[in-house]
């Protein structure tokens, strides 16, 4: 993991210089090659338990798996940029470089062993995202997204740092194992209130980045205004890395005071599920619906964190993967529909099935997966998380989650109904969308993997 961080940083800088070449044809393949190299290097750490940089980072199978998800989703999102920037002057090499740097941040967030490293990773990822959110320079909505994300994100970072300072004040260490040791001894001696305050502030900082209610207000506007390509990145990579980080700090350091924080997480989880799902019902824009859907999925993932059992880790992993694949499919189809039919509302999808059966099928599979219909990855993702909640006896969480999944089916299927049952209104809309090869490849891979995870989840789960 050490080498993949170093390599990706160097590759990012190289990417900047690739921009000086006359031809841009090599840019995308080379960037994909960079990510593939990083992926291979990451996978060599499988079944090794290592510490790097004086216990700043640690590697185990779970962090390797999370890093793999992150790199693979970056590799699936990058090909979508093929025809995304019609303007020849668009600084595409810079975008790719920033994406590579943000992957570095995400990897730091899943492998940290020291809270300073968590902060560095979170900032590397967030600052990259602030820039990408505002990358559509001619569009005021993109400015709005970047400004909102930056202001709120900077505040959340401040709160996180304040929490880290409190934790340091209470325990005298930044190390996760050091914190764990302090927590264990304080169960006998009585803990300093600073510890609880610090933990709460750190949780607020991380939960903000995960767009968990009540810290979710930025999400719809930012997701809506950000160029769709980068929204896809935001909704998948940031969320996966954030949940890996949240689970790691809670499971390694704070299991000793589970009774203190579980109720907070359970309450935010219920709130997130209610707000995310019920507000999503009222959306007219597919993109905003996906933003609320990402809030609601944060709620489901939070249940697994709250349950904190033997298998929580593997269910978070499985759920993140299933959610990532389905979300990439939805955003890829959204990009195509938006560019060819000029609209992000549900009605833009009317009659898509007749002209583009493949796109409609891929999007239907993705929606089924997000809604948790059997034979898709999302079903088993929810299944494992619900089992976690059941094992821990969190029945009320389970009831809310099941009810809200039922609500989810309603709004996810609106787009499916629009595609299959509504005819297109005017002739301009009826034109067939020509799917570029890169999009077709990405959609084929994500759809295949989604179904594979739904048919044979054991392929992944048996490793953890």
């Amino acid at each position: 993991m050490f080498y993949s961080v170093v390599l990706l940083s160097i590759f990012g800088i190289l990417n900047l210089f690739l921009g000086f070449l006359k031809s841009r044809a090599w840019l995308l393949p080379v960037t994909l090659l960079f990510l593939a190299t990083a992926l291979v290097v990451t996978l060599t750490d499988w079944n090794k338990s290592l510490f790097f940089w004086n216990y700043m980072m640690s590697t185990d199978n779970v962090s390797v798996a999370f890093a793999t998800i992150i790199i693979v989703s970056a590799m699936l999102i990058l090909p979508l940029s093929r025809f995304y920037f019609p303007n020849a002057a668009a600084p595409v090499p810079e975008y790719y470089a920033i994406l590579l740097f943000s992957v570095v941040g995400a990897i730091l967030m899943v492998t940290y062993e020291n809270i300073i490293m968590l902060f560095l990773g979170l900032e590397t990822l967030s600052i990259a995202m602030y820039i990408l959110a505002g990358s559509d320079k001619r569009n005021p909505r993109s400015h709005e997204a970047a400004l909102k994300y930056f202001l709120m994100g900077a505040f959340a970072t401040g709160i996180l740092l304040f929490g880290v300072a409190m934790l340091y004040g209470a325990t005298g260490t930044f190390n996760l194992s050091g914190l764990a040791q302090y927590v264990r001894t304080t169960l006998v001696n009585g803990a300093s209130p600073m510890l609880y305050l610090g933990l709460t502030l750190v949780l607020i900082g991380i939960l903000f980045k995960l767009s968990v209610a009540p810290f979710h207000f930025w999400t719809p506007d930012v997701y809506d205004g950000t160029p769709t390509l980068f929204t896809a990145f935001m909704a998948t990579v940031v969320k996966t890395a954030g949940f890996a980080a949240l689970y790691k700090i809670l499971s390694v350091s704070f299991t000793g005071i589970y009774s203190v924080w579980w109720i907070t997480l359970a309450a935010t989880s219920v709130l997130t599920l209610l707000i995310g799902n019920i507000t999503a019902v009222y959306q007219q824009s597919f993109k905003r619906m996906l933003a609320y859907s990402s809030i609601s999925h944060a709620g489901y993932l939070l249940i697994a964190v709250t349950a904190m059992g033997q298998t929580s880790q593997s269910s978070i992993l499985f759920y993140s993967l299933a959610y990532t694949l389905a979300t990439i499919t939805s955003f890829a189809v959204l990009i195509l529909v938006n560019e060819n039919r000029a609209g992000e509302s549900f009605s833009a999808f009317n009659g898509l099935a007749r002209h583009n059966p493949f796109l409609a099928f891929a999007l239907t599979v993705a929606m089924c997966s997000l809604a948790g219909i059997p034979l898709t990855g999302g079903f088993f993702g929810k299944f494992y998380i619900f089992i976690n909640a059941l094992e821990k006896g969190l029945l009320f969480l389970l009831v809310v989650a099941v009810l809200m999944s039922a609500v989810g089916i309603y709004y996810y299927f609106r787009v499916v109904i629009a595609m299959y049952m509504r005819g297109s209104d005017d002739n301009a809309v009826a034109d067939r969308i020509i799917v570029p090869k890169s999009y077709a490849a990405v959609l084929a891979i994500t759809t295949f993997l989604t179904i594979l995870l739904g048919v044979a989840p054991d392929l992944l789960v048996r490793y953890f």
Binding site: I13, L16, F17, F20, G172
Partner: protein, 127 residues
């Protein structure tokens, strides 16, 4: 771990009180006491004007300014910060040894890569 008592932080409070006291005193003095002494000679069209080196102010402050000034300023900050890292290294050159030298080479390589990028991008071309 060394233990600190709340009383150890007393100098900070004293400093805070002094700073706030200075602000409060000067504001009170300029707004209430001095006008009482000098009567009508304090306010006026010219006296309330912005004072900038004696040149008469013109127009609004929110006028568009070329992005080049901003970029140059940012780059200046970048190289200024670089100096902050170089000075301590130069002072401790012997004790840091070859490891320190290698680390500084890495740092300078990254910095120069950025510098090269900036030049190739034409940020420093003024025309």
């Amino acid at each position: 771990m060394q233990q600190y008592l709340p009383s150890d932080y007393l100098p900070i409070i004293v400093q805070l009180v002094l700073a706030l006291g200075f602000v409060a005193t000067t504001m009170l003095a300029t707004n209430y006491i001095i006008p009482k002494i000098f009567r009508n000679r304090v306010h006026g069209k010219v006296k309330d004007d912005t004072w900038e080196c004696g040149i008469e102010p013109q127009g609004d402050a929110r006028t568009p300014i070329s992005i080049k000034y901003f970029l140059t300023a940012i780059l200046f900050v970048l190289f200024d910060v670089e100096i902050i890292f170089l000075y301590p290294w130069a002072v401790n050159f012997r004790s840091l040894g070859w490891l320190g030298f290698a680390e500084m080479i890495v740092f300078m390589t990254l910095l120069m890569a950025g510098f090269f990028y900036v030049i190739r991008k034409g940020v420093l071309n003024w025309d």
